[in-house]
Symmetry: C2
Subunit: 337 residues, 2 copies
């Protein structure tokens, strides 16, 4: 990569883990060089409000107002609304903080007025002073249904109300066939300015797969001339956050970085993979899948961790050859360790 | 009135002043003997939420959770929602507290699910442990438009955003022709158990007139066999709360208790009138209108004030003869002082 080359990065993200890497990316890339595309299959309508958990986590994280204790919602939050709602015998299983509520109310108002979710998100991010572009994967409703041994559950019922307890047998993305990717998302994938496409360390099944399942997205990833690199959300056999590891086990997959790599590689979607030092022993197995592998610290505890992983991942991607047909040949040992 | 007689009281109310008397009534009458009918022409849709200021003020007051400092909203309120909304460049001229918001969100959710405003109000009051029955005047939308020298204003724009500054020339109640009184309201007016009908010390133009303007309400008040008594919201030439006095002046009416008495009396709606000690000098003039008049302390600063005024007003009403045709003859001096 030389100066003057395309430098734009498109990152596909779910919630917490993706948001951490997105924050790192936003700090190591020029302000107009990052597009974060967020899963919206977790979105749901609750109390008459449109809630978009992944968009909000990314937005709050990039704006520096995320709640690092809970992993969702805003910092310095208060809970008067929920207390009062409890007194009114309202539904309180989904914890809506008072500050967070402003996002849902304003978003819902704008959507009802006819704005697309892409436009609404741009307006909210603009108000919050976010330089990166944050996009919903789609302006159309897609809703993850979790197939469990005790029946089907809407994602938030599975995730929040039932605390991921039911055993998972699969997933369905209602609305996926009719949904179109946000036009800005597809345009970003195909933009000449785009130099790297990253899959953040997010849940492969319920955060990344809905994005990939949108019409035209996998084709665009296979067609693109720029490297596509994923960061493993599984570290040392567990997920840093969320139910990814539990889901993999219940689906009969190995709960390893290899398992994640294979999940994407089977669909010929990646040019490279990033795993944690703890999983260095899996490097050969992943490279045998045809995926050059970067081994580094992927657990992002500090802001410096986020920035370092972002920088290393970008550099790793830029060092990879484009295209997948010749991936195996293109990999040289020094690149993948 | 003897024991075993009908004892039910129906009180027509706006916001703060009406709510104070309603609270007094709720404490001197048996729990199931009070129906408070609230103006809903101040209601509006804001940020996608249905806001019902008078219903809420009455409900919060009866539940003991009203904010006595502001005169609206809930006590122990927090403002995180509004702060966050400001950061999102949202509309913040209407002050929605975090606790208050729960009412609007839950009400809006229930209305969208198909419940009537009467049903929603009953559910909210039930959750808050309110023994009295609180009714919206109508389940249909009626919206006060304030006609001013600078043009028409929706009520909340006039009242809150513009702080009642524009000079008023009249009012229009949009939707009034199509709106039906809440069936429970009409039934209460005609119920054999109803012994007294009170018009609370609320703004005659924007709080009480919309209630009276509903199809069938004035006819029911003229037809009823029980005494109808109003408490003057004007004391010593001013309104305890709100723009009633300013409106009367701008409309060219005397800003007096007499002015209010005449406003209702012209339509043959009252059997008696209650004025403050400060206005005792107007007693003869009001009685000359054919309205027996109770002179007492009507400024309700303490809970004891509210209870005393409620008791005195009920006793005064019960001492009046029914019907208006013979009001002038029925009035005896000792009744009216």
């Amino acid at each position: 990569m030389t100066e003057g080359s395309p430098r734009h990065c498109v990152a596909l993200s779910g919630g917490v883990g993706g948001a951490k890497l997105a924050l790192g990316l936003s700090r190591v890339l020029p302000g107009d060089s990052l597009t974060v595309v967020c899963n919206t299959a977790d979105d749901f309508d609750h109390l008459g409000l449109r809630i978009c958990p992944d968009l909000d986590t990314v937005m709050y994280t990039l704006a520096g107002i995320s709640n690092r204790v809970t992993g969702w919602g805003q910092a310095h939050e208060t809970w008067s609304f929920l207390e009062a709602l409890a007194h009114l015998d309202g539904e309180i299983w989904f914890r809506l903080g008072d500050r967070d509520l402003a996002t849902h109310v304003e978003r819902t108002r704008r959507l009802r007025a006819g704005e697309t979710l892409t436009d609404v998100t741009a307006a909210l991010c603009g108000a919050l002073g976010i330089a990166a572009r944050v996009l919903p994967m789609s302006d159309d409703p897609v809703r993850t249904v979790v197939l469990t041994e005790t029946g089907e559950l809407s994602f938030q019922h599975y995730f929040v109300r039932d605390a991921c307890t039911p055993t998972v047998s699969g997933f369905r993305f209602d609305g996926i066939d009719a949904a179109r990717p946000s036009p800005a998302f597809l345009a970003a994938l195909e933009d000449d300015a785009t130099a790297t496409i990253l899959v953040c360390p997010s849940n492969p099944f319920v955060s990344v797969d809905p994005v990939l399942a949108l019409d035209g997205v996998e084709a665009a990833l296979r067609r693109t001339g720029v490297p596509v690199v994923a960061v493993s959300p599984i570290v040392g056999g567990t997920a840093i956050k969320g139910p990814a590891a539990k889901m993999m086990a219940e689906l009969g997959m190995p709960v390893t970085a290899v398992g994640v790599a294979r999940h994407y590689r089977e669909r010929d979607l990646l040019d490279g993979f990033v795993i944690d030092d703890a999983d260095a022993g899996q490097t050969t197995e992943i490279e045998d899948l045809g995926l050059p592998t970067l081994v580094t610290g992927t657990v992002m505890e500090t802001l410096a961790d986020r920035e370092r992983l972002a920088r290393e991942t970008i550099d790793f991607a830029r060092g990879l050859d484009h295209g997948r047909g010749d991936v195996a040949e293109a990999v040289s040992p020094e690149r993948s360790a």
